[in-house]
Subunit: 350 residues, 2 copies
């Protein structure tokens, strides 16, 4: 995360450009990177979605732009005051706060969109501006982080301090890795698996920092994965349910999503999906459920998704389509409580 002064400077620069326009008695104009589907391109080099060069103009001189222009300015000023006061706000709080200022959003979806506009305009993620969704995932392992939030500046926390894991909230997301005994990061989909890996001391056995994703990983979790991966050089392995949804949890970590194409520090390109693969279902004789039409339709979508063009992805999709079966992470319990720790994960990791 860039430092506080730099973040404030970007918002201030936006305000000053608008002010200058006003002083010169011209209508203020901002040019926002176009986040429409037509401008989202898959970058072969970085292997992720990024925005193209197209921009959209928003001008106070166009009657139809005034509402969104005002909303954007208000969100920017709200974000500035969050940073200045070292505060955070949920997306929902921001939506409700607008009423105090006579700024209107028809619903939270609209304020969420304007926040994304601001993100791409000033090249700061909402989290860098103190704005968070409510969901959380957790982390556990032998890594020491240094907090920077008020009241905790410089304080270090060992990520094994709480045997239930630590939530990846605003404070942890903005903290910096200091040192580590871990050699890999193992990110898992379900909370049950996360707990199992903690209490069997698998983090010790595999020298792993454990991350609970909880379905599609929140952005703050993806950013923390990226930061720890980059600064400590730890490879990332992802363990999800064996179905198109699990595959996609992993894919969003490696190749990003269209929704966050304007944010660049969320992906870990070389993260590896270890399973549950279609082959695992057969190799480990896992209990399965038949795929629903919805699952199969999702597989078709993935087959045509540019992020799945690589051979291993295509082959997994094909295998799942042949099998028409899916299996959860928990399915390994069929072979005994610790089978996943004693057999499956060593097969995959060692």
């Amino acid at each position: 995360m860039i430092d506080r002064e730099a973040r404030l400077a970007r918002l201030q620069a936006l305000g000053e450009s608008v002010l200058q326009d006003l002083k010169q008695e011209t209508f203020p104009v901002v040019e926002i990177p176009d986040r429409g589907t037509g401008n989202i391109v898959f970058d072969e080099n970085s292997n992720q979605y990024i925005l193209g060069t197209s921009r959209v103009e928003r001008t106070a001189g166009n009657y139809r732009h005034i509402r969104s222009f005002t909303q954007l300015m208000w969100v920017a000023s709200y974000a500035k005051s969050l940073i200045e006061n070292s505060r955070t706000s949920s997306l929902r709080d921001l939506y409700y706060s607008s009423e105090a200022f006579g700024v209107e959003f028809s619903d939270q979806a609209e304020s969420d969109r304007v926040i994304a506009d601001l993100e791409s305009l000033v090249r700061l993620s909402r989290e860098e501006m103190g704005i968070y969704p409510e969901e959380n995932s957790s982390v556990y392992g032998e890594v020491t982080m240094r907090y920077s939030v008020p009241g905790y500046e410089g304080r270090e926390v060992d990520l094994t301090i709480s045997p239930d894991g630590l939530p990846i909230g605003p404070a942890l997301m903005s903290s910096d890795p200091v040192e580590s005994n871990a050699e890999i990061i193992l990110a898992v989909e379900s909370g049950g698996m996360f707990s199992r890996l903690i209490e069997t001391r698998s983090w010790e056995r595999f020298n792993a920092l454990l991350v609970h994703l909880g379905g599609q990983a929140p952005r703050s979790t993806r950013r923390l994965l990226r930061r720890i991966h980059d600064s400590l050089g730890l490879p990332v392995y992802i363990f999800t349910d064996g179905d198109p949804w699990g595959m996609h949890i992993a894919k969003v970590i490696t190749s990003g999503s269209a929704n966050s194409a304007h944010i660049s520090d969320l992906t870990v390109h070389d993260a590896e999906w270890i399973g549950v693969t279609a082959d695992d279902i057969e190799d480990y004789q896992l209990p399965t459920e038949p795929m629903t039409d919805y699952d199969l339709k999702r597989l078709d979508e993935l087959a045509n998704d540019v992020r799945y063009r690589d051979k291993p992805s295509q082959s997994q999709i094909r295998r799942f389509k042949e099998l028409k079966l899916k299996a959860e992470q928990q399915a390994f319990s069929r072979h005994g409580m610790d089978y996943v720790v004693e057999t499956y994960l060593p097969d995959k990791l060692e």
Copy 2:
């Protein structure tokens, strides 16, 4: 939580009674407290739901009982091995593990039901047997807890250690309060409000231990509330959205639910719902949304619910019905970011 040996002893006693029957060549029989609606009674004294005296027999001598009898025995042995090995299992893991033993459940709902049977039979909650749902809520404040899970025995944790809060998982749930600077417990519905209260240092201002409920509080959270309330003597205040669902979050904490009528240590009878009340909506001029038919139907249900027979509850329901409006906790943000901390909560708490 009763100690490990006592928990094991209860499961062992069950096993021994079955074994004795078998040795005497009679069909083993267990008598389970009846958890059907007909046997759930509202206890005026304790002001909560409890089970009546009716019991149901499950006997291996009845062909139709064999399946559920076997399931019950297997869950008991699985629970015993969890306690013996100081392990936990998610409800889902338990369901999948059954396959390893050739025990059949048609779905997780069935294994969840059998777990509840075992709970009422041996008078241990599933958490005391190491069985947890996946959901979590969190806690933050100046209370010190002492862990008892393996690897952490006797280690103390200050609940302000993580500025994002600590999850109330298996380890924290089974830990014991040691000391406290807090004078009240303030339980809030939303994660956004929880974060706001942490970062504004409201826990200091109100001398409050903050608890994030996250909708209907998981049982482990209700149990922790009860434990800290009882052993440190802290009164509990509950702050939820202003709608029937928020009211009911508070009511389940004070008066329990039919589903957990067989568990007695989950309620805090004198916990107080501070709002958002129907009166608050008017008094604080909160932004509102109209109640849906679904909300209004829920209000009717609450009006006829025995737990809402007290005058204040009936009057709140009436007021909501007249207003036909609801408001979220976040609605206070209309009056500025810190209004809820600077004005509303002091009004209610001080």
